[in-house]
């Protein structure tokens, strides 16, 4: 039933679940009639799971409407209603990576500082290498030792890295990497970029330039543009997705740091507010701690109760 969700993800989710649904199950005990107090408490618990006021507002509006017209009367019905609603928000687009019709598939990775771009790239590359030769491009030429960090990863997972000196033009690095990918007939090219706050106009313009340079050689590239979001980020995650989306045609999200007590609830808010599918979730520091995101499995795991666990 949980398909691709591994134990690691489940462990991360277990905590999310404790937060969101452990709490909800405590509020919505089995076999009780719904009352105004319970509904209010439910609302507060959704807030504390980083789902965000807007999405919580929408969900609660639906819950209250259904309660009012007697569609849901008991706590159990409310629980089921909630689950269906969340599923509705998350399901939809495919989470598989798009491939180039021919030649290398270019994956551009962007995000604000400290979300885990470089680590995610290493993890993604590690997955992709089973599917053909991978080239990494060290496009973060700004942060001290960023390319060294990627070089260490490239070495560990055994893929080729294209890099230039610190302070080089990231677009130039991207161009070199595209050339290398084409000439060596690589299947994948994954391009790292420096972390930047989405409010920095000039740095956002720089991203646009990287994109344009790539297109000079491969017109339909990048085939995937992934935004890396930190799951512990609050409402600003939505602002990040919107602003990066203005410059890049985002095709997917990578949600990192979902292990620990990070809140999976953010996924629900983000998916509701920005219609970009979550493609990967990061669940640890090791290179295989990355999972493709399975929305249905996620909801099932999230709403799994002791009774259905079996």
């Amino acid at each position: 039933m949980f398909g691709k969700l591994t134990a690691a993800l489940k462990e991360g989710l277990r905590k999310t679940k404790e937060k969101i649904l452990g709490g909800i199950r405590a509020i919505l005990p089995f076999g009780r009639d719904l009352d105004a107090d319970l509904v209010d408490q439910l609302e507060e618990h959704l807030y504390s799971a980083d789902i965000g006021p807007r999405t919580v507002g929408k969900i609660m509006e639906a819950v209250r409407a259904a309660w009012k017209n007697r569609t849901i009367k008991t706590t159990d019905e409310c629980f089921a209603f909630l689950k269906a609603h969340v599923k509705g928000i998350l399901s939809g687009e495919s989470t598989a990576l798009r491939r180039a019709a021919s030649g290398p598939t270019v994956v551009l990775v962007a995000g604000v500082n400290g979300t885990g771009k470089t680590t995610s790239i290493a993890k993604i590359a590690n997955r992709l290498k089973k599917d053909g030769p991978v080239i990494l491009a060290a496009g973060d030429t700004f942060r001290a030792a960023a390319s060294e960090q990627l070089a260490l990863w490239a070495d560990r997972i055994g893929v080729r890295l294209i890099r230039q000196d610190k302070g080089a033009d990231p677009a130039a690095v991207a161009f070199d990497a595209v050339e290398a990918a084409l000439s060596s007939k690589a299947a994948w090219l994954v391009i790292d970029t420096a972390g930047r706050l989405h409010t920095q106009e000039n740095l956002m313009a720089e991203l646009d330039k990287v994109k344009r340079i790539i297109r000079k050689r491969i017109p339909d590239a990048p085939h995937e543009t992934l935004l890396v979001l930190d799951a512990t980020t609050g409402q600003n995650a939505i602002s990040q997705a919107v602003e990066f989306g203005k410059v890049l045609d985002l095709t997917g999200l990578v949600l990192t740091k979902l292990d620990g007590t990070a809140k999976g609830g953010a996924i629900i808010g983000i998916r509701d507010q920005v219609k970009i599918p979550v493609k990967f979730v990061g669940v640890g520091e090791k290179v295989d701690d990355l999972e493709t995101f399975d929305p249905d499995g996620f909801v099932e795991a999230l709403f799994e109760t002791p009774e259905t666990k079996g």
Binding site: A144, Q149, N236
Partner: protein
């Protein structure tokens, strides 16, 4: 979505505008908006609840003075309470050891910005306190973290202590011993990012703390953190003798509600804030300004202070006089441009003005235009700069060639200059611009207070009508008029 908090406050003011006092009913309505707004600013739910309760008590209490605009009163209560919650008006200075090296331990989650912050803190300590610093690379987890600190050390020209084949607590202990031997004043320990639920790593950082006995233990916290901020802050506070918090990435558009949450659960003050990637983008924490930010009220106080720092007083006075007299020349315009640039990027400055922040975030401001304007003015003769009216078409064409720009661009600049001159005339009547740009006038106590009161009321200082309305409204005469009107009814 970002502006919802200030909108909430605005609607709150509007709602109260017609009523004479705070009633239980309208306070409750308004607080619902504030509550949502705080949640949207990522303030933790529990913290929000406690906060709302406190504001309610205060707003309903005796502090509500009759005759004052209830909306202003309400905003003031909220603002004060927020400021209070974030730790009094002044930031604590760094505690240095009496003898021997001062040890500063930095801890936090992955990606919070610890390593960069170490560099910034080191730079600040050297500049402000004139002490030598040893940076210690104790992040042995993340690939190339040691390398990153080495690069920062090289940039700053500071020693970096690195050792391999040893556990982080041992590295730190030996680094402190080295500092003692080499008579280095301050040791900054950069530890690895760790999840607060990772027991092994939490024990390790606690061990570092036990063995080095740090004088300051800073939790480095990302301003964008959501509801979970309370859990991680609490866990770090339980395991480490935290003395303060450093809030990073405040240069983004996050409202930074995490600041409030962290402060509330740890009881430890926020000491510094990170405002950008460069090593000098670091500042002591100002609770009142953070309250403004969470409430979306801009940062006029910062603007005034920043202006004060860079503008030479005498030049400013002369310039302000010229502006007001209408004898403002292109030379003065050039000087003004250069000073404004010294203050920082245009966007930083404009972002501090209440009501402008939001618009500015989306408005690309071309810094190159400044350079261009400079080039154009510098290509003019002294006469042309003093008497712009002599600039005939042929003169303009010469200037354009000299500055390497098009005739159209010269014409544009002349138009802006004329427009500016005209606006100065109008501003003079209001007297507002003088306060912002002229420190000699702007810093007179009562006027500054008025400015702050306007800011508290959410008045857009660049909107003359709002300023005018506020002045009328807050004036004694206006209040009397209102009372008379009420009697008549």
């Amino acid at each position: 979505m970002l502006e919802s908090l200030s909108k909430g406050i605005q609607s709150l003011i509007t709602r109260f505008a017609g009523t004479g006092k705070l009633t239980e009913e309208n306070v409750k309505d308004a607080l619902r908006e504030v509550r949502l707004a705080l949640l949207e600013a990522d303030v933790n739910l529990g913290v929000t609840r406690a906060f709302i309760e406190r504001v309610k008590t205060r707003a309903m209490g005796k502090e509500v003075i009759e005759g004052v605009n209830p909306g202003q009163m309400m905003v003031k209560v909220i603002h004060d309470e927020l400021t209070q919650l974030m730790g009094g008006p002044d930031a604590e200075p760094i505690k240095f050891a009496g003898g021997g090296p001062t040890v500063i331990l930095m801890a936090g989650l992955q990606g919070a910005g610890k390593t960069t912050t170490c560099g910034k803190l080191a730079a600040l300590i050297r500049k402000k306190h004139e002490k030598s610093v040893l940076l210690v690379a104790a992040d042995l987890q993340r690939p190339a973290a040691v390398e990153q600190l080495k690069v920062l050390g090289a940039q700053l020209g500071m020693p970096v202590h690195t050792e391999t084949g040893m556990t982080p607590p041992s590295v730190c202990e030996r680094a402190v011993a080295r500092a003692k031997a080499e008579r280095i004043d301050v040791v900054i320990l950069d530890t690895a990012g760790r999840l607060h639920v990772d027991d092994a790593l939490m024990t390790e950082v606690a061990e570092v703390s036990r063995r080095t006995q740090p004088h300051e233990v800073f939790l480095v916290c990302d301003a964008m953190t959501g509801q979970d901020a309370v859990n991680s802050a609490k866990a770090f506070n339980d395991r480490l003798p935290l003395t303060g918090v450093i809030l990073t990435k405040l240069d983004g558009d996050a409202r930074g509600g995490a600041a409030l949450s962290v402060r509330e659960v740890t009881g430890k003050p926020i000491r510094f804030v990170g405002l950008g990637e460069k090593l000098d983008k670091f500042d002591v924490f100002h609770p009142a300004r953070m309250a403004d930010r969470i409430l979306g009220m801009g940062d006029v106080v910062s603007l005034v202070e920043k202006a004060q720092e860079v503008i030479d007083e005498r030049t400013a006075r002369a310039q302000a006089e010229k502006m007001f007299k209408g004898t403002f020349s292109l030379d003065d315009f050039l000087r003004l441009l250069q000073q404004v640039r010294k203050m920082g990027s245009m966007k930083d400055i404009l972002g501090m003005i209440p009501g402008l922040g939001a618009q500015m975030a989306n408005m690309p401001l071309d810094e190159r235009e400044f350079t261009r304007s400079e080039a154009i003015i510098l290509s003019m003769t002294p006469l042309e700069r003093l008497e712009p009216d002599v600039l005939s078409n042929s003169r303009r064409a010469r200037v354009a060639r000299g500055a390497g720009v098009t005739l159209e661009q010269v014409n544009d600049l002349m138009r802006s200059f004329k427009e500016m001159k005209k606006q100065f005339g109008e501003l003079r009547k209001m007297g507002v611009f003088g306060k912002l740009m002229d420190p000699t006038k702007g810093l007179q106590k009562d006027k500054e207070k008025e400015l702050m009161r306007m800011q508290e009321a959410g008045v857009n200082l660049l909107d003359m009508q709002q300023v005018k309305a506020w002045r009328q409204f807050s004036g004694q005469k206006a209040r009397e008029d209102a009372r008379k009107q009420r009697k008549r009814r």
